[in-house]
């Protein structure tokens, strides 16, 4: 079954085609560009490119998997709206996966890990995974100091992800180089059971974790002195 995977929760804008079969998930085509400011420009051409690379057409798709974040909102929405609209046209299910899981799951080789991405404003989006890659805590958003302390409390011995690179010193954990961004094949693997079962698709709701910045209108300032 040919499945499109998109993730735009980090500066790595990702589109991939994977083949989901009874025994596994194999990558067919993959495009990734790291640019925190151009998600809207980059994603659609990359989807087009992976289809061309795999010599496939949109109607060949069986399902779409999208990283739900958490991530900076504006970029994150690009991936989700792309997945949702394509799914609507093609009449195929869309499945969401927490983007941090696609960093933490492949990194947890027997020992607990902290997976973190940059939340801007000097904060991190993060989650902690056990040695088998199951999420123990998160996703949450907090300062790197708080994330590091919580992860160490939970027994994490290592940190991964772009956010961990950025705040390695404050986290006070050794940082592993890879995976740095959500891995598209892993996103598909984490949805593979639902894809194989033909489970009903879900509405793709971003993991925002923060309220919108909105200042309520206050009393008007008089103009007369």
């Amino acid at each position: 079954m040919l499945v499109l995977v998109v993730d735009s929760s980090t500066p790595a804008v990702t589109a991939a085609l994977v083949e989901v079969s009874a025994d596994g998930v194999a990558s067919r085509a993959h495009r990734c560009t790291v640019d925190a400011r151009a998600h809207g420009e980059l994603l659609a051409p990359q989807v087009d490119a992976v289809l061309a690379d795999a010599d496939a057409r949109p109607r060949d798709l069986t399902a779409i998997v999208a990283g739900l974040g958490p991530g900076p909102f504006t970029g994150l929405r690009v991936g989700l709206v792309t997945a949702a609209t394509m799914g609507q046209v093609l009449g195929i299910p869309t499945y969401g996966v927490c983007s941090l899981d696609a960093i933490g799951y492949p990194a947890a080789a027997g020992e607990p890990v902290l997976a973190a991405s940059d939340a801007r404003r000097k904060e991190l989006y993060w989650a902690v995974y056990d040695g088998a890659g199951q999420r123990l805590v998160g996703p949450e958003v907090s300062t790197p100091a708080v994330a590091g302390a919580r992860a160490r409390e939970l027994g994490a011995l290592v940190a991964v992800g772009d956010g961990a690179h950025r705040y390695a010193e404050v986290l006070d954990l050794p940082v592993r180089v890879e995976p740095r961004y959500p891995d598209a094949t892993v996103l598909a693997m984490l949805a593979a059971e639902r894809i194989r079962a033909g489970a009903p698709g879900e509405r793709l709701t971003p993991l925002y974790l923060r309220r919108p910045d909105a200042v309520a209108a206050t009393g008007r300032k008089p103009v007369l002195p």
Binding site: A38, G40, E41, L42, L43, A44, P45, V47, D48, R57, P58, F73, T74, R77, V78, L80, V81, T82, A83, A84, T85, M86, Q88, V89, L90, R203, P206, Y208, P212, D213, A214, V215, A216, A217, R220, P222, V223, L224
Partner: protein, 348 residues
Amino acid sequence: MADEPLILGIETSCDETGVGIVRGHTLLADALASSVEEHARFGGVVPEVASRAHLEAIVPTMQRALTEAGVTLADIDAIAVTSGPGLAGALLVGVAAAKGYALAAEKPVYGVNHLAAHVAVDTLEHGPLPEPAIALLVSGGHSSLLLVDDLARGVTPLGATIDDAAGEAFDKVARLLGLPFPGGPPIDREARAGDAASIAFPRGLTAAKDLAAHRYDFSFSGLKTAVARWVEARQRAGEPVPVADVAASFQEAVCDVLTSKALAACRAQGIETLVIGGGVAANSRLRALAEQRAEKYGIRVRVPRPKLCTDNGAMVAALGSHLVAAGVAPSRLDLPADSALPLTTVSV
């Protein structure tokens, strides 16, 4: 007529998620979801709230439009979307959606200018637009006077507000008078019971010295302050505020400036058609005054019905249809959302 192309339009530049479907100049569907109520307590549109609402609304709004038009996405010939100007994050949801629809349905996508779409929508109501025409576009986000010589390829800006948009002045004055947001409809309503000549509020940029540099520009900030001063002086004196009179006098000042400058532009250029669009075009006094004044000079005023004046998907579909008919090339898939898209760019 049935072989004219079927065009879909998507609009998300502010707080309305709009999906419109047209065939030629015929409107088949105009579905709208609005987040206006979520913004009301903030007294203005909150960009992140609008962006979140667009993401939630786009798929169901599309479904409603398709059902209303009795067509499927496979029947569509091209997809048009507002690529600017507007709120950056809000535009991006619509642009990404349009690309998703275009990619999956294997159809071309046109990124179009929101303001040109406000002009194009009138073709759905009054047929092809004689060119050249003058367009007055007034809403909470924009106040512009344009020369439309070729709606498919470029319009010429003549003037614009140098401070607040006209609709913004309505919102601020409404708040001052204790009326709800958005302020246009309640002020229009209150004004009907008021005396428009009771208070002489200023007409911005109409004095001879201002006209030299700002012949077709607008300014509503001074008017808004003048209304605030007048109301506060009343309140400080412990006198009641005659809401209807203030609303009528304020509205008269706005409509007087808008119509006199728009008609001056028509006369200066020898143009016989004036199109009015944008949310403020729904104001009853603006329509009446424009028609009354235009008649004297033999100028025809075209104002679409109120639902088509405010932001909607039909206007984007109408412009898309015009572009397709004119043989304009579609946009590329890396088309950006541009919050400051210039008026001279009709399609990206």
